[in-house]
Protein backbone atom coordinates (compact mmCIF):
# COMPACT_ATOMS: atom_id res chain seq x y z
CA UNK A 1 0.00 0.00 0.00
CA UNK A 2 1.29 3.40 -0.88
CA UNK A 3 0.94 6.07 1.75
CA UNK A 4 1.65 9.72 1.40
CA UNK A 5 2.95 11.57 4.40
CA UNK A 6 3.28 15.31 4.81
CA UNK A 7 6.99 14.92 4.38
CA UNK A 8 6.46 13.19 1.04
CA UNK A 9 4.19 16.00 -0.05
CA UNK A 10 6.76 18.62 0.93
CA UNK A 11 9.49 16.71 -0.91
CA UNK A 12 7.28 16.47 -3.95
CA UNK A 13 6.67 20.21 -3.90
CA UNK A 14 10.37 20.86 -3.56
CA UNK A 15 11.14 18.43 -6.36
CA UNK A 16 8.68 20.02 -8.73
CA UNK A 17 9.38 23.55 -7.59
CA UNK A 18 6.90 26.03 -6.18
CA UNK A 19 4.82 28.18 -8.53
CA UNK A 20 6.74 31.39 -7.78
CA UNK A 21 9.97 29.69 -8.65
CA UNK A 22 8.43 28.39 -11.86
CA UNK A 23 7.78 31.98 -12.87
CA UNK A 24 11.48 32.69 -12.55
CA UNK A 25 12.29 30.05 -15.12
CA UNK A 26 9.62 30.27 -17.79
CA UNK A 27 10.43 27.67 -20.42
CA UNK A 28 10.46 29.03 -23.93
CA UNK A 29 10.96 26.99 -27.02
CA UNK A 30 10.26 23.34 -27.58
CA UNK A 31 8.16 21.19 -25.27
CA UNK A 32 10.14 20.35 -22.11
CA UNK A 33 11.11 16.73 -21.50
CA UNK A 34 11.10 17.25 -17.77
CA UNK A 35 8.94 18.79 -15.11
CA UNK A 36 11.00 21.24 -13.06
CA UNK A 37 13.34 19.32 -10.81
CA UNK A 38 13.22 16.03 -12.70
CA UNK A 39 16.43 16.45 -14.65
CA UNK A 40 19.47 15.20 -12.80
CA UNK A 41 22.25 16.35 -15.12
CA UNK A 42 25.43 17.28 -13.24
CA UNK A 43 27.46 20.37 -14.06
CA UNK A 44 30.23 18.14 -15.45
CA UNK A 45 27.75 16.48 -17.78
CA UNK A 46 26.51 19.90 -18.87
CA UNK A 47 30.07 21.01 -19.59
CA UNK A 48 30.63 17.93 -21.76
CA UNK A 49 27.42 18.57 -23.66
CA UNK A 50 28.36 22.22 -24.19
CA UNK A 51 31.75 21.19 -25.58
CA UNK A 52 29.93 18.84 -27.94
CA UNK A 53 27.59 21.63 -28.98
CA UNK A 54 30.42 24.07 -29.64
CA UNK A 55 32.37 21.51 -31.70
CA UNK A 56 29.41 20.19 -33.68
CA UNK A 57 28.64 21.10 -37.26
CA UNK A 58 25.66 23.29 -38.05
CA UNK A 59 23.43 20.32 -38.84
CA UNK A 60 23.88 18.58 -35.46
CA UNK A 61 23.81 21.72 -33.37
CA UNK A 62 20.09 22.31 -33.02
CA UNK A 63 19.48 18.79 -31.69
CA UNK A 64 22.24 19.09 -29.08
CA UNK A 65 21.08 22.57 -28.08
CA UNK A 66 17.45 21.51 -27.65
CA UNK A 67 18.41 18.51 -25.51
CA UNK A 68 20.73 20.64 -23.39
CA UNK A 69 18.11 23.35 -23.00
CA UNK A 70 15.52 20.84 -21.87
CA UNK A 71 17.88 19.31 -19.32
CA UNK A 72 18.72 22.72 -17.91
CA UNK A 73 15.11 23.86 -17.85
CA UNK A 74 14.14 20.69 -16.00
CA UNK A 75 16.90 20.87 -13.40
CA UNK A 76 16.26 21.75 -9.74
CA UNK A 77 18.57 24.75 -10.12
CA UNK A 78 18.74 25.89 -13.76
CA UNK A 79 20.92 28.89 -12.87
CA UNK A 80 23.68 26.60 -11.55
CA UNK A 81 23.74 24.63 -14.80
CA UNK A 82 23.46 27.88 -16.73
CA UNK A 83 26.66 29.04 -15.09
CA UNK A 84 28.40 25.89 -16.31
CA UNK A 85 27.20 26.72 -19.85
CA UNK A 86 28.46 30.27 -19.54
CA UNK A 87 31.86 29.25 -18.19
CA UNK A 88 32.38 26.61 -20.86
CA UNK A 89 31.42 28.99 -23.68
CA UNK A 90 33.47 31.94 -22.42
CA UNK A 91 36.58 29.78 -22.16
CA UNK A 92 36.05 28.11 -25.54
CA UNK A 93 38.17 29.04 -28.56
CA UNK A 94 35.23 28.94 -30.96
CA UNK A 95 34.27 32.09 -32.82
CA UNK A 96 30.79 33.09 -31.77
CA UNK A 97 31.16 31.52 -28.33
CA UNK A 98 29.40 34.37 -26.53
CA UNK A 99 26.49 34.25 -28.98
CA UNK A 100 26.37 30.50 -28.40
CA UNK A 101 26.15 30.97 -24.63
CA UNK A 102 23.25 33.38 -25.01
CA UNK A 103 21.53 31.03 -27.43
CA UNK A 104 21.66 28.00 -25.13
CA UNK A 105 20.61 29.97 -22.06
CA UNK A 106 17.78 31.65 -23.92
CA UNK A 107 16.54 28.29 -25.19
CA UNK A 108 16.60 26.93 -21.64
CA UNK A 109 14.69 29.98 -20.40
CA UNK A 110 17.25 30.86 -17.75
CA UNK A 111 16.82 34.56 -16.96
CA UNK A 112 19.93 36.72 -16.80
CA UNK A 113 18.95 38.06 -13.39
CA UNK A 114 18.92 34.61 -11.77
CA UNK A 115 22.41 33.90 -13.10
CA UNK A 116 23.64 37.30 -12.00
CA UNK A 117 22.25 36.57 -8.54
CA UNK A 118 24.12 33.26 -8.47
CA UNK A 119 27.40 34.93 -9.41
CA UNK A 120 27.23 37.98 -7.16
CA UNK A 121 27.18 38.52 -3.42
CA UNK A 122 27.91 41.30 -0.94
CA UNK A 123 31.57 41.36 -1.95
CA UNK A 124 31.23 40.93 -5.71
CA UNK A 125 29.01 43.15 -7.83
CA UNK A 126 27.79 42.30 -11.29
CA UNK A 127 29.98 44.98 -12.82
CA UNK A 128 33.13 43.50 -11.35
CA UNK A 129 32.59 40.11 -13.03
CA UNK A 130 34.95 39.14 -15.88
CA UNK A 131 34.15 41.19 -18.98
CA UNK A 132 32.80 38.39 -21.16
CA UNK A 133 30.48 37.23 -18.36
CA UNK A 134 29.02 40.72 -18.09
CA UNK A 135 28.68 40.96 -21.86
CA UNK A 136 26.94 37.59 -22.30
CA UNK A 137 24.59 38.10 -19.35
CA UNK A 138 23.49 41.54 -20.53
CA UNK A 139 22.87 40.13 -24.00
CA UNK A 140 20.81 37.43 -22.28
CA UNK A 141 18.98 40.11 -20.27
CA UNK A 142 17.99 41.62 -23.60
CA UNK A 143 16.07 38.47 -24.51
CA UNK A 144 14.83 37.56 -21.01
CA UNK A 145 11.29 38.63 -20.25
CA UNK A 146 11.40 39.04 -16.47
CA UNK A 147 11.46 42.46 -14.85
CA UNK A 148 14.77 41.95 -13.00
CA UNK A 149 16.57 41.32 -16.26
CA UNK A 150 15.06 44.55 -17.60
CA UNK A 151 16.44 46.37 -14.55
CA UNK A 152 19.87 44.84 -15.19
CA UNK A 153 19.76 45.98 -18.82
CA UNK A 154 18.78 49.48 -17.76
CA UNK A 155 21.59 49.62 -15.22
CA UNK A 156 24.08 48.52 -17.88
CA UNK A 157 23.04 51.33 -20.21
CA UNK A 158 23.43 53.87 -17.43
CA UNK A 159 27.02 52.73 -16.79
CA UNK A 160 27.82 54.48 -20.11
CA UNK A 161 31.01 52.43 -20.50
CA UNK A 162 32.40 48.93 -20.13
CA UNK A 163 31.43 45.50 -21.49
CA UNK A 164 27.96 45.55 -19.93
CA UNK A 165 27.16 48.85 -21.62
CA UNK A 166 28.60 47.53 -24.90
CA UNK A 167 26.24 44.56 -24.66
CA UNK A 168 23.27 46.76 -23.74
CA UNK A 169 23.93 49.01 -26.74
CA UNK A 170 24.02 45.90 -28.93
CA UNK A 171 20.70 44.77 -27.45
CA UNK A 172 19.06 48.13 -28.20
CA UNK A 173 20.77 48.28 -31.58
CA UNK A 174 18.98 45.11 -32.55
CA UNK A 175 15.61 46.42 -31.45
CA UNK A 176 13.33 48.52 -33.57
CA UNK A 177 11.22 51.50 -32.52
CA UNK A 178 11.67 55.01 -31.26
CA UNK A 179 12.47 54.03 -27.66
CA UNK A 180 15.51 52.01 -28.76
CA UNK A 181 16.70 54.91 -30.93
CA UNK A 182 16.24 57.35 -28.06
CA UNK A 183 18.32 55.15 -25.75
CA UNK A 184 21.06 54.82 -28.38
CA UNK A 185 21.15 58.58 -29.02
CA UNK A 186 21.44 59.20 -25.27
CA UNK A 187 24.37 56.79 -24.97
CA UNK A 188 26.05 58.27 -28.06
CA UNK A 189 25.83 61.70 -26.44
CA UNK A 190 26.83 60.81 -22.88
CA UNK A 191 29.31 57.95 -23.03
CA UNK A 192 32.93 58.84 -22.29
CA UNK A 193 34.08 55.84 -24.36
CA UNK A 194 34.82 56.23 -28.11
CA UNK A 195 33.96 52.54 -28.56
CA UNK A 196 30.52 52.89 -26.97
CA UNK A 197 29.76 56.19 -28.73
CA UNK A 198 30.69 54.75 -32.12
CA UNK A 199 28.73 51.59 -31.49
CA UNK A 200 25.60 53.53 -30.53
CA UNK A 201 25.94 55.91 -33.49
CA UNK A 202 26.48 52.98 -35.84
CA UNK A 203 23.08 51.58 -34.84
CA UNK A 204 21.37 54.98 -34.97
CA UNK A 205 22.62 55.54 -38.52
CA UNK A 206 21.58 52.04 -39.56
CA UNK A 207 18.09 52.55 -38.19
CA UNK A 208 17.77 55.82 -40.06
CA UNK A 209 19.15 54.50 -43.35
Amino acid sequence: MITTTNEDAVSETARRGDPDRELLYPFRGTRPRFTRGESRLSTDQVRRQVRGFLSAGAVQRSGIRDLLAQEIAGAPDPAALGLAVLQECVHSAKAGRLDDAVEVLRSAGVPAASMAAALCDDTRSFFSLPEDYQYALIRLAGVSEDSWSAVLLDEAIHRKDGPACEAAVTVYGNRTGEHARTVLRWVAEHSPSPLIRDLALEYVHESEA
Binding site: A58, V59, A93, A95, E103, D132, E166, A167
Partner: protein, 187 residues
Protein backbone atom coordinates in the same frame (compact mmCIF):
# COMPACT_ATOMS: atom_id res chain seq x y z
CA UNK B 1 46.39 29.32 -51.39
CA UNK B 2 48.77 30.90 -53.85
CA UNK B 3 48.49 34.63 -53.26
CA UNK B 4 51.84 36.16 -54.21
CA UNK B 5 53.60 38.05 -51.41
CA UNK B 6 53.49 41.34 -53.30
CA UNK B 7 49.80 40.97 -54.07
CA UNK B 8 47.90 44.22 -53.71
CA UNK B 9 44.36 43.70 -52.46
CA UNK B 10 41.57 44.53 -54.87
CA UNK B 11 39.30 47.53 -54.43
CA UNK B 12 37.21 47.60 -51.30
CA UNK B 13 33.63 46.60 -51.85
CA UNK B 14 32.57 46.10 -48.25
CA UNK B 15 35.41 47.38 -46.15
CA UNK B 16 37.32 44.16 -46.77
CA UNK B 17 39.98 44.10 -49.51
CA UNK B 18 39.96 40.94 -51.59
CA UNK B 19 41.39 38.40 -51.22
CA UNK B 20 41.54 38.39 -47.44
CA UNK B 21 41.25 36.05 -44.52
CA UNK B 22 38.51 36.96 -42.04
CA UNK B 23 37.93 35.90 -38.47
CA UNK B 24 34.62 36.39 -36.65
CA UNK B 25 35.00 38.55 -33.52
CA UNK B 26 32.55 38.05 -30.67
CA UNK B 27 32.60 41.56 -29.26
CA UNK B 28 33.64 44.80 -30.89
CA UNK B 29 35.31 45.70 -27.59
CA UNK B 30 37.70 42.74 -27.81
CA UNK B 31 39.57 44.56 -30.57
CA UNK B 32 38.44 48.14 -30.72
CA UNK B 33 39.12 48.97 -27.06
CA UNK B 34 42.81 48.32 -27.63
CA UNK B 35 42.79 50.52 -30.74
CA UNK B 36 41.32 53.32 -28.62
CA UNK B 37 43.32 52.85 -25.43
CA UNK B 38 46.80 51.87 -26.59
CA UNK B 39 48.94 48.82 -26.29
CA UNK B 40 48.16 47.56 -22.76
CA UNK B 41 45.41 45.24 -23.89
CA UNK B 42 47.14 43.71 -26.91
CA UNK B 43 47.90 40.32 -25.33
CA UNK B 44 44.28 40.09 -24.15
CA UNK B 45 43.04 41.06 -27.61
CA UNK B 46 45.25 38.35 -29.14
CA UNK B 47 43.82 35.76 -26.74
CA UNK B 48 40.24 36.90 -27.31
CA UNK B 49 40.37 37.12 -31.10
CA UNK B 50 42.83 34.32 -31.92
CA UNK B 51 42.32 31.64 -29.26
CA UNK B 52 43.84 28.24 -29.97
CA UNK B 53 41.19 25.65 -30.78
CA UNK B 54 41.45 22.04 -29.60
CA UNK B 55 42.95 20.98 -32.96
CA UNK B 56 45.71 23.58 -32.59
CA UNK B 57 44.35 25.98 -35.21
CA UNK B 58 42.40 29.22 -35.42
CA UNK B 59 39.37 29.12 -37.70
CA UNK B 60 39.40 31.74 -40.48
CA UNK B 61 37.74 32.12 -43.88
CA UNK B 62 39.13 33.10 -47.26
CA UNK B 63 37.05 35.73 -49.03
CA UNK B 64 37.88 36.62 -52.62
CA UNK B 65 34.89 38.79 -53.45
CA UNK B 66 31.57 40.06 -52.11
CA UNK B 67 29.81 36.79 -52.89
CA UNK B 68 32.31 34.88 -50.74
CA UNK B 69 31.94 37.36 -47.90
CA UNK B 70 28.14 37.09 -48.02
CA UNK B 71 28.23 33.29 -48.02
CA UNK B 72 30.72 33.11 -45.18
CA UNK B 73 28.48 35.40 -43.12
CA UNK B 74 25.40 33.34 -43.99
CA UNK B 75 27.32 30.16 -43.18
CA UNK B 76 28.45 31.52 -39.82
CA UNK B 77 24.89 32.50 -39.00
CA UNK B 78 23.70 29.03 -39.97
CA UNK B 79 25.69 27.81 -36.94
CA UNK B 80 23.39 29.89 -34.73
CA UNK B 81 20.52 27.49 -34.37
CA UNK B 82 18.18 29.83 -32.58
CA UNK B 83 18.74 32.94 -34.63
CA UNK B 84 18.06 34.20 -38.08
CA UNK B 85 20.53 34.27 -40.95
CA UNK B 86 20.55 38.06 -40.77
CA UNK B 87 22.27 38.48 -37.39
CA UNK B 88 24.99 41.11 -37.79
CA UNK B 89 28.57 39.83 -37.79
CA UNK B 90 31.84 41.60 -37.00
CA UNK B 91 34.98 40.45 -38.75
CA UNK B 92 38.67 41.13 -38.47
CA UNK B 93 40.38 40.90 -41.86
CA UNK B 94 44.00 40.44 -42.83
CA UNK B 95 45.74 39.25 -45.95
CA UNK B 96 47.47 35.93 -46.34
CA UNK B 97 50.83 37.68 -46.81
CA UNK B 98 50.27 39.42 -43.46
CA UNK B 99 49.64 36.05 -41.81
CA UNK B 100 52.66 34.44 -43.48
CA UNK B 101 54.92 37.33 -42.60
CA UNK B 102 53.95 36.95 -38.95
CA UNK B 103 54.91 33.27 -39.20
CA UNK B 104 51.45 31.71 -39.32
CA UNK B 105 50.92 28.76 -41.63
CA UNK B 106 47.56 28.57 -43.40
CA UNK B 107 45.93 25.18 -43.95
CA UNK B 108 42.98 24.33 -46.17
CA UNK B 109 40.36 22.68 -43.95
CA UNK B 110 36.64 21.99 -44.37
CA UNK B 111 34.18 24.29 -42.61
CA UNK B 112 31.18 22.96 -40.67
CA UNK B 113 28.46 25.43 -41.66
CA UNK B 114 25.34 24.56 -43.63
CA UNK B 115 26.67 26.44 -46.68
CA UNK B 116 28.89 24.28 -48.89
CA UNK B 117 30.31 27.32 -50.64
CA UNK B 118 31.41 28.77 -47.30
CA UNK B 119 32.78 25.42 -46.12
CA UNK B 120 35.22 25.33 -49.04
CA UNK B 121 36.51 28.74 -48.01
CA UNK B 122 37.45 27.62 -44.53
CA UNK B 123 41.10 27.81 -43.51
CA UNK B 124 42.98 26.98 -40.33
CA UNK B 125 45.78 29.17 -39.05
CA UNK B 126 48.25 26.88 -37.30
CA UNK B 127 48.35 28.49 -33.88
CA UNK B 128 51.68 29.71 -32.63
CA UNK B 129 51.65 32.17 -29.76
CA UNK B 130 54.58 34.24 -30.99
CA UNK B 131 53.25 34.38 -34.55
CA UNK B 132 49.79 35.39 -33.37
CA UNK B 133 51.36 38.13 -31.26
CA UNK B 134 53.31 39.41 -34.29
CA UNK B 135 50.20 39.42 -36.46
CA UNK B 136 48.19 41.29 -33.82
CA UNK B 137 51.01 43.84 -33.39
CA UNK B 138 51.17 44.34 -37.16
CA UNK B 139 47.42 44.84 -37.42
CA UNK B 140 47.34 47.32 -34.54
CA UNK B 141 50.32 49.13 -36.09
CA UNK B 142 48.19 49.93 -39.13
CA UNK B 143 45.13 50.64 -36.95
CA UNK B 144 43.19 47.81 -38.57
CA UNK B 145 39.56 48.12 -37.49
CA UNK B 146 36.80 45.54 -37.63
CA UNK B 147 34.24 45.46 -40.41
CA UNK B 148 30.60 44.74 -39.84
CA UNK B 149 28.33 42.71 -42.09
CA UNK B 150 25.03 44.48 -41.47
CA UNK B 151 21.55 43.08 -41.20
CA UNK B 152 20.47 44.86 -44.36
CA UNK B 153 23.35 43.35 -46.32
CA UNK B 154 22.58 39.94 -44.87
CA UNK B 155 18.92 40.21 -45.82
CA UNK B 156 19.81 40.36 -49.51
CA UNK B 157 22.54 37.73 -49.03
CA UNK B 158 20.01 35.39 -47.41
CA UNK B 159 17.61 35.99 -50.28
CA UNK B 160 20.32 35.11 -52.82
CA UNK B 161 21.25 32.02 -50.83
CA UNK B 162 17.61 30.95 -50.83
CA UNK B 163 17.31 31.36 -54.58
CA UNK B 164 20.41 29.23 -55.08
CA UNK B 165 18.99 26.51 -52.86
CA UNK B 166 21.73 26.93 -50.23
CA UNK B 167 21.24 24.52 -47.32
CA UNK B 168 21.80 27.39 -44.91
CA UNK B 169 18.66 29.11 -46.18
CA UNK B 170 16.41 26.29 -47.36
CA UNK B 171 15.88 22.54 -47.13
CA UNK B 172 16.04 22.29 -50.92
CA UNK B 173 17.91 19.41 -52.56
CA UNK B 174 18.87 21.71 -55.41
CA UNK B 175 21.78 23.47 -53.69
CA UNK B 176 24.09 25.08 -56.25
CA UNK B 177 26.66 26.25 -53.69
CA UNK B 178 29.21 23.61 -54.63
CA UNK B 179 29.34 24.71 -58.26
CA UNK B 180 29.57 28.37 -57.19
CA UNK B 181 32.49 27.72 -54.91
CA UNK B 182 34.19 25.17 -57.12
CA UNK B 183 37.44 27.10 -57.54
CA UNK B 184 37.79 28.07 -53.89
CA UNK B 185 40.14 25.23 -53.06
CA UNK B 186 42.54 26.31 -55.79
CA UNK B 187 43.49 29.40 -53.75
Amino acid sequence: MGTPPDHQPAALASGVPFPSLVRKVDRKGHWRRVLDDGSDGRPAAARAVFPRDMDGTVSVWLVRDDADLDRVAIGLNSMRTGSSLTEEIRLLWFTEPEALEAGLAVEVTEGATKCRHANRLHRGLVHDEGAVRRLVEALFAVSRDLVKVTKSRLRSAAESAKQEGCHAATDSDLCRCESIGVDATSH
